[in-house]
C-alpha cells in the first residue's frame, strides 16, 4: 500500500517538529528518513503510525484517509527503537499478541494463530526459540522478534524506528542485508528512521533528508549522494571541506589558483563556497592548472594517507589519498603540492550560512549529552 503525506505539521509548544511535509511513498518502496536528532524524523514516523497526532495535513494509506484513525485501527507494523518487547511473555506470545487482541469476530482460531506465528518465526530465523523470554535473547534476536510481532498483524505498512541503533557494529551489518532481503521478498512498503547516513544509503531505495522539521532533499540514494541539494545535506552525508571561492559564470576561482575550476553549475557571480569531500582530493603533480597548496600535517594509516593542506589564503582542507600512488608515498610535511578536485559542489554564500547548515554531527545521539553530570561514577 502506498503512503501519501500532504501538508503534515506537528508542533510541540512553540517548536515546530514537522512543517508542512509533503511526501509520497510508493507501494513496496523502502524509504529512509534521515536526519540529525531533533530533525523531526521520528515524529514523522510516529505520525504515520498514529502515535503522534497531526496538527495539520493528511496521511493517506492508499485511498484510506488515516489522519484521524486511532493507532490500534491503523494496522501499521511498528518496530520500536528498543523493541518494546513484552518481557513477561514468551517469544511466541509476543508474536501472537496482535492476533490475540483482535475482536472475537476477526480473531483467527487458536491453531491458526499459532501456525502463523511459527511461520513468521521461521521467516525471521527464530524457530525453536518460541518458549524463550525476551531477556534470554541476544540483541539481534530481540530485534527479529519485534519484527515478527509487527508482521504478524499483516500491516498496511512497516515502520521501523532506528532499527539497528541498539545493536553492536557487527550484528548491525548482518541484519541490514537480511532486512533488505526480507523487505524484497515480503514487498511491504517500509519506512525506517536513522541518523546514520551509511545505513540509509546502503538499505534504502530513496532517502528523505530532514532538518528542523522540513525536508531538505528527497530522492534516490545515488542522486542525493552525488548532488546534495544544499550545504546541510552535503555535510550530513559525510565529512566536507569548505573552500571560499569567487564565481564568474561557470568559473570558480579558488584562492591562489591561476586557473578556475569549472563545474556544471552556473552562478551569477560573487562569493561562493566550494564543498569537497576529503576522498575527492588528489595530488596533481606539477599540473599548472591545479590548486597550489602546502602540506601541514600527514598521517599514514593503513591503506590511506590522511593529510591536511593549506591554501594560499590560509584555508585548510583535509584529504584522504590512496597509498599506492608514487606521489603520495613521497609526500612530506611542508611540501608544496598541487591539488585536483575529482568532484565538488558549490553553493552561494547565503545558502552556506543559512541556519541549520552547521555541523550536523554534533547533534547526533551518541555525542556528548548536555546533561548535568555531577557525580562521576561508573
Amino acid at each position: 500500500m502506498d503512503i501519501r503525506i500532504e501538508g503534515l505539521s506537528r508542533r510541540f509548544g512553540s517548536v515546530a517538529a514537522l512543517e508542512r511535509i509533503d511526501l509520497h511513498i510508493a507501494r513496496g518502496e523502502l524509504v529512509a528518513l534521515l536526519g540529525p536528532s531533533g530533525s523531526g524524523k521520528t515524529t514523522l514516523l510516529r505520525a504515520i503510525a498514529g502515535l503522534e497526532p497531526a496538527d495539520e495535513g493528511r496521511i493517506l494509506f492508499g485511498a484510506l484517509d488515516a489522519t484521524r484513525l486511532p493507532v490500534r485501527e491503523r494496522q501499521v507494523g511498528f518496530v520500536f527503537q528498543h523493541y518494546a518487547l513484552f518481557e513477561h511473555m514468551t517469544v511466541l506470545d509476543n508474536v501472537t499478541f496482535g492476533l490475540r487482541v483482535k475482536p472475537r469476530r476477526w480473531r483467527p482460531g487458536r491453531a491458526e494463530i499459532e501456525r502463523r506465528a511459527r511461520e513468521l518465526l521461521v521467516r525471521v530465523q527464530l524457530e525453536g526459540l518460541e518458549r524463550r523470554y525476551p531477556n534470554q535473547l541476544s540483541g539481534g534476536q530481540r530485534q527479529r522478534v519485534a519484527l515478527a510481532r509487527a508482521l504478524a498483524i499483516e500491516p498496511r505498512v512497516l515502520l521501523l524506528d532506528e532499527p539497528f541503533g541498539a545493536l553492536d557494529a557487527k550484528v548491525r551489518k548482518e541484519l541490514r542485508g537480511w532486512l533488505r532481503g526480507l523487505q524484497r521478498t515480503t514487498g511491504y512498503t517500509t519506512v525506517f528512521v536513522t541518523h546514520d547516513h551509511e545505513e540509509a544509503l546502503e538499505l534504502a531505495d530513496r532517502v528523505v533528508i530532514l532538518n528542523r522539521g522540513r525536508i531538505e532533499q528527497l530522492g534516490p540514494v545515488a542522486e542525493v549522494y552525488e548532488c546534495p541539494a544544499n550545504p546541510f545535506v552535503f555535510e550530513f552525508l559525510g565529512s566536507a571541506n569548505v573552500l571560499p571561492a569567487v564565481a564568474r559564470g561557470r568559473e570558480l576561482w579558488l584562492p591562489g589558483a591561476e586557473h578556475p575550476l569549472t563545474g556544471d553549475q552556473i552562478f551569477p557571480g560573487g562569493e561562493v563556497a566550494v564543498y569537497v569531500r576529503p576522498g575527492d582530493v588528489r595530488l596533481a603533480g606539477a599540473d599548472p592548472a591545479a590548486i597550489p597548496a602546502r602540506v601541514i600535517d600527514l598521517q599514514r594509516t593503513g591503506p590511506r594517507v590522511t593529510a591536511q593542506a593549506e591554501l594560499s589564503d590560509g584555508t585548510r582542507l583535509f584529504m584522504e589519498l590512496p597509498h599506492l600512488h608514487h606521489d603520495v608515498s613521497q609526500l612530506s610535511v611542508g611540501a608544496a603540492v598541487r591539488l585536483r578536485l575529482l568532484q565538488f559542489r558549490a553553493y552561494s554564500r547565503a545558502d552556506a550560512q543559512r541556519p541549520g547548515a552547521g555541523r550536523p554531527d554534533s547533534r547526533q545521539p551518541g555525542a556528548a549529552p548536555s546533561g548535568q553530570g555531577r557525580i562521576a561514577a561508573r
Partner: protein
C-alpha cells in the same frame, strides 16, 4: 530547583494515542482523591480540630501539664538513644553489605528487615520474656537491683528494635548504587581509612543518612505498642507521649489527649515535608549517578 519544574517528567506527558478518555481520567482521579480524603485527610483534620476545640488556652494548658511535660522528656530521651544506636548500626551494616562480597548477604539483608514485619506488641513481649520479673534474666536482675522492664532501659530497647532497619535500609541501596570508586580513589590518593570515611563516604551519603535518621526518629517518637508493653504505665515516670495520649483518652480527657496528639501530628507533618524534600534531593543524586 528551577530546572526541576522545567523538565517535565516524561511519564506525565499526555499522549492522545495511548491515554484514557477524559471521563475515565476524571473518574479515576475522583475515586483516588476521595479515597485519600476519607482515609487520610479526615483523621488528620479530626486531630487538629479536636485539639483546639476548646481554644488555644486549653491546648496550652494540656500540653504543659506536668504529666505531659514528663512524657515529652521521656519521649526525647528514649528516641535520642534509640536513633543514635540504630544510626551507628545502619552505617556499619551498609558499609559491610554494600561494599563487600560475602556468603549469606541476601539472608543478612532479609534479617535486617525482620523487625518491620514483627508486631510491635511482640517486640515488647520479647524483652519481657528476657528481662521481666518472671523472665530468664529477671531473678538475677532484681537481685542486683537493675530495672530494665517497666523502666526507661526497656523502653529504649523496645524502641530500638522497632526502628531497627530504617537507617540501614536507606543507606544500603544508595551505597550499592553509587559504588565504591570514590573511596578507592581516596585510598589511591593516600587517605587513611578514617579520613576516607569522614571526608569521602560520609559526605557522599549525607542526604540518605539524614533521610534514614528522619524516618527512624519519627517512628521512635510515635512508637506505641512495643513501648506500651514494657513501660508499666507509671504516670510521670515511664510514659512517653503516645502512652500519655492513651492515658488521657482512657480517662475521658479528650481535649488533653488530642492536644498532645496534635504535637505528634505536627511532628509527623514536619517529617513528611522534610521527607518529600529529601526524596527530591536523593532522586537527583541517584539520577546523576545513573546518567553515567
Amino acid at each position: 530547583m528551577s530546572t526541576r519544574t522545567l523538565e517535565a517528567p516524561p511519564l506525565a506527558q499526555t499522549n492522545a494515542a495511548i491515554d484514557e478518555p477524559r471521563w475515565v481520567r476524571h473518574l479515576l482521579m475522583a475515586v483516588a482523591l476521595s479515597f485519600l480524603a476519607i482515609f487520610l485527610l479526615l483523621p488528620l483534620g479530626q486531630v487538629l480540630f479536636s485539639a483546639f476545640a476548646k481554644g488555644a488556652g486549653a491546648w496550652w494548658a494540656a500540653v504543659t501539664a506536668p504529666d505531659s511535660r514528663a512524657a515529652i522528656c521521656m519521649s526525647l530521651l528514649v528516641t535520642s538513644l534509640a536513633v543514635a544506636a540504630n544510626t551507628l548500626f545502619g552505617l556499619c551494616a551498609a558499609w559491610a553489605i554494600a561494599y563487600f562480597h560475602f556468603p549469606g548477604k541476601r539472608w543478612l539483608v532479609t534479617l535486617i528487615d525482620l523487625p518491620f514485619s514483627v508486631s510491635p506488641v511482640i517486640a515488647g513481649l520479647i524483652f519481657i520474656l528476657i528481662f521481666g520479673a518472671r523472665g530468664w534474666a529477671g531473678p538475677w536482675l532484681s537481685e542486683h537491683g537493675i530495672r530494665i522492664v517497666f523502666a526507661w532501659p526497656g523502653m529504649v530497647l523496645a524502641t530500638t528494635f522497632v526502628t531497627f532497619p530504617f537507617v540501614a535500609r536507606t543507606l544500603i541501596p544508595l551505597l550499592q548504587q553509587k559504588g565504591s570508586q570514590h573511596e578507592e580513589a581516596a585510598l589511591t590518593l593516600g587517605a587513611s581509612g578514617w579520613r576516607m570515611f569522614w571526608q569521602v563516604s560520609l559526605p557522599k551519603m549525607r542526604w540518605a543518612l539524614l533521610y534514614g535518621v528522619l524516618l527512624c526518629n519519627a517512628r521512635a517518637m510515635g512508637e506505641f505498642g512495643a513501648v506500651s508493653v514494657v513501660s508499666g504505665h507509671i504516670r510521670g515516670r515511664t510514659n512517653t507521649m503516645p502512652l500519655q495520649v492513651e492515658l488521657f483518652y482512657n480517662d475521658y480527657q479528650f481535649e488533653a489527649a488530642f492536644a498532645l496528639a496534635s504535637l505528634l501530628a505536627a511532628l509527623a507533618l514536619l517529617t513528611m515535608g522534610l521527607k518529600a524534600f529529601l526524596e527530591w534531593r536523593l532522586r537527583d543524586e541517584l539520577a546523576a549517578t545513573r546518567g553515567h
